[in-house]
Symmetry: C2
Subunit: 314 residues, 2 copies
């Protein structure tokens, strides 16, 4: 299996940099004081389409040859990847086909509609989703872009860490959320290439801890009986992201639902920025594992800001 | 009455720049598309203590001689000015006395407590507040720093517009909220000195329209029967801010409560940043008076981000 390298992330960055926001790195004196760590937040909640996913999606869409691109792209997702892919396709002027479960939440559906994607609904189960996607690809000839188990997606996601390390010198460690593992994989490849001493941690809800179990058992484990407010982190790792995470990541840290909500609230209150629950698992991991981060220079990638304002957890 | 000039704002900026955040200027493609204007948001919601008020408070505190400073500063405020003054005093290492109504909201009280101010409670009426403040000043010898009708406060508030114009060339107009008028006064002095052709508008709730009535009648009118979600804008202009606004401001635009809430929600959703209702009157004014801003390069000062997350209007 060919895995992305630093060079692939560098190429991705050159390819996408005129399409994406170079998001700011923010700090908060009061959060630093509270957690006794020197924290640098890379604000992908300000990224186009509201999440880091736009980096990978843009890289995947603009990596296609003209011949591949003319039939469009397709994916299955009920979340940020679908909106990101739809916007990237719109920017290239090609079609985007999205398979979504019938029970998808309205704000997520509206985001994909706003970017003019062609939506196919399926039943909310794996079998229906896969057969619907298969049928869409067969009929249209569109290129399937997997949300995370994809070389160009992972390369694109690594560009967030590239910018973070360019803008913040001397980081001791970097934390990202881990769902399917695209962001964590890209981050780990990039960070370990720049400096093998930087610790890279994936953070996930204890109630959806498949990455933790896979990492520690050495066997790719599926996501089962998940129930978490961090709804972007329900997916399991894929073969490619699992292999990269095994090779490059230092540890997976799990956190409680209570810590996720507290961390989310702290960031809203103190930094005056809106992040989704999935983004809060990283700061929650500093609450729960302070010994890893005390007096360290700590980078956090805030993954996204797409939250239903009518339905907050606090 | 001696009024601040461009030079006073410049001196204030030199005095305070190492204490304040130079806040970012943000843009949103989707808001520009929706409102057909090219809008630049100066994010004072990211300022220390969560509002532009920290600029004026820091300028006032650091303008004092050592002899004046040693007895501390005092003010009456149930809002952002009290927290800002308390933090500025803490940074200079002097005492801060704050008179607050007994029914002050808990988050506001906690902010002032966090910055170690010495709090005196009064009854929630003008007479009780003034006699409590008078008594505090008599007993302590502290210097009274009025929230807006104060030369150094106005000079400090003008530094936000100074940074906005430095970072964004070619603005056609600038909007700020108007409550007591400190921010609007500082902005107007600065902007008209840099370029007399820049239009400067104050924005206020229709349900607290004393600045509108004062501006158009030419007589300083008190704030009466106010009832607005924009609780930072309940106060009346003072003699100094009224004089500056009469001389320098192009118009006062009033907005409905409905527009304020819609504008606040739009900024939260699209920009992923937290602003308080008082900050949303400016974007609301573009909703309600689009003809002033169509195809213009429009600056907005987002005044603050201190909002009770447990009690949102949507």
């Amino acid at each position: 299996m060919q895995l992305p390298s630093y060079t692939d992330i560098e190429s991705a960055h050159i390819r996408i940099r005129n399409y994406i926001h170079r998001t700011p790195v923010m700090t908060s004196e009061s959060i630093n004081r509270l957690l006794k760590s020197d924290i640098f937040f890379k604000c992908e909640n300000f990224q186009k389409a509201g999440a880091f996913k736009y980096r990978g999606a843009t890289n995947a869409v603009f990596s296609l040859t003209d011949e591949e691109a003319q039939k469009g792209v397709a994916t299955h997702s009920s979340g940020n990847h679908a909106a990101a892919l739809a916007l990237a396709a719109l920017k290239r002027g090609i079609r985007c086909f999205v398979v979504m479960p019938r029970n998808v939440k309205i704000p997520k559906l509206n985001a994909v509609k706003e970017y003019k994607a062609d939506i196919t609904f399926c039943d909310p189960n794996l079998e229906s989703r896969e057969s619907a996607l298969h049928e869409v690809v067969r009929k249209t000839g569109a290129v399937f872009i997997h949300p995370y188990n994809n070389f160009q997606i992972i390369s694109g996601q690594g560009t967030a860490a590239k910018e973070l390390l360019e803008d913040t010198k001397g980081l001791d460690c970097i934390l990202t959320p881990v769902g399917g593992g695209g962001l964590l994989s890209g981050t780990a490849i990039l960070a370990k290439s720049v400096n093998p001493l930087i610790k890279v941690y994936g953070c996930e809800p204890r109630q959806a801890d498949d990455a933790f179990r896979s990492f520690h058992s050495g066997v790719l484990m599926p996501s089962v009986n998940t129930s978490t407010i961090a709804d972007g982190l329900l997916t399991s790792l894929g073969p490619m992201t699992f292999e990269i995470i095994r090779q490059k990541v230092d540890d997976i840290l799990t956190v409680t639902e209570k810590s996720i909500i507290q961390a989310m609230q702290l960031i809203w209150q103190r930094m005056k920025i809106i992040i989704e629950p999935s983004s809060a698992v990283t700061l929650a991991a500093i609450f729960e594992h302070p010994e890893y981060f005390r007096d360290k220079k700590t980078g956090i990638i805030l993954s996204g800001g797409n939250v239903d304002l009518m339905n907050l957890p606090f």
